[in-house]
């Protein structure tokens, strides 16, 4: 453990399939400097490390770089292995399998570096300086292209065996629902994610989830049925989580 002072800064990195957000953050959760890079995973993991390192140095130079750097945290689209610092996600980050992101950044900047699943990082962010601050425990559900979430207890991400996080997006909510890649029918993601709503909407000639929402607003009964199915799924997931975790706050986030 290091000793931190109030002027300390940390670098946060949020890695997604299309872009990487990088920010210098203070202990109050204020963003002091930020930028975004295209991920371009297919061009190589080593290249991404070089680009991230260069940007971190630039951002630190734009802030009061005499402030101590407490560390670097990375939230990355999973699967990730936070214990070993490995990104194991060739699915949305082409070629990034068993990629150690912690060691090169630690050696470059001489500070501790930690890796988290991106949903877990977002939940910690909300608990650090957002809707979950001063509440405990907190459950966050996210809905976007996929669906997921995180459980934060005493400010820390709840983990299961091997450091794995609960896959809240795959809670079963309707046993007769669509078959999901997770292995069962009718999980939350298969019914309430943007992808799921959009897929159901295609049967009505609607382009995507946004089109479904728009059609509901203009009185389309069939689109309303898709939405009600999604809302029922979210309500069931909320019910299950409240009965298993007893959260003080249930935070809803994402791009839906």
């Amino acid at each position: 453990m290091l000793r931190m002072n109030t002027s300390a800064q940390a670098v946060g990195i949020d890695i997604g399939g299309s872009k990487m957000a990088i920010a210098v953050v203070n202990t109050a959760g204020d963003i002091l400097a930020r930028t975004t890079l295209a991920t371009e995973a297919g061009l190589g993991f080593g290249r991404a490390i070089d680009r991230l390192s260069g940007v971190i140095e630039e951002l630190r130079a734009h802030t009061n770089s005499s402030s101590p750097l407490a560390g670097v945290g990375i939230g990355c689209a999973g699967p990730v292995d936070p214990i070993r610092g490995l990104i194991n996600n060739p699915y949305t980050l082409e070629g990034w399998n068993r990629c150690d992101i912690v060691t090169p950044l630690r050696e470059r900047f001489g500070v501790p570096v930690h890796l988290e699943n991106d949903a877990d990082a977002a939940a910690v962010g909300e608990c650090f300086s957002g809707a979950g601050r001063c509440f405990d425990p907190v459950v966050m559900l996210t809905s976007g292209t996929g669906g997921g979430g995180a459980v934060v207890v005493n400010g820390r991400v709840y983990r299961g065996m091997n450091g794995e996080h609960p896959e809240l997006g795959h809670i079963p909510v309707a046993m007769d629902g669509p078959l999901c890649y997770c292995g069962i029918r009718g999980c939350l993601e298969s019914l309430a994610s943007g992808t799921a709503i959009g897929a159901a909407g295609k049967g009505l000639g609607l382009a995507d989830a946004r089109a479904v929402f728009s059609s509901v607003a203009s009185g389309n009964i069939a689109a309303q049925s898709i939405l009600e199915c999604a809302l029922g799924a979210v309500a069931s997931a909320g019910w299950t989580l409240c009965h298993t975790i007893s959260p003080q706050r249930l935070i809803l986030g994402g791009a839906a």
């Binding site: 920010a23 945290g73 300086s129």
Partner: protein, 55 residues
Amino acid sequence: MMDDHFRLFADAIRARLQRATQFTRDQVSVVRAARGNDAGVVGAAAVAFQHVESL
């Protein structure tokens, strides 16, 4: 999450929870994320801070 969408999802959960008899339903609040797209980078930085001993 957009305002309208949040309201739909939150109201669905709140309505379901009104039926609950086995936990203190009035003490759980369903709220919208406050940090939006910043939550990821702020949370990643917070993870770094968490590994540093408090003041």
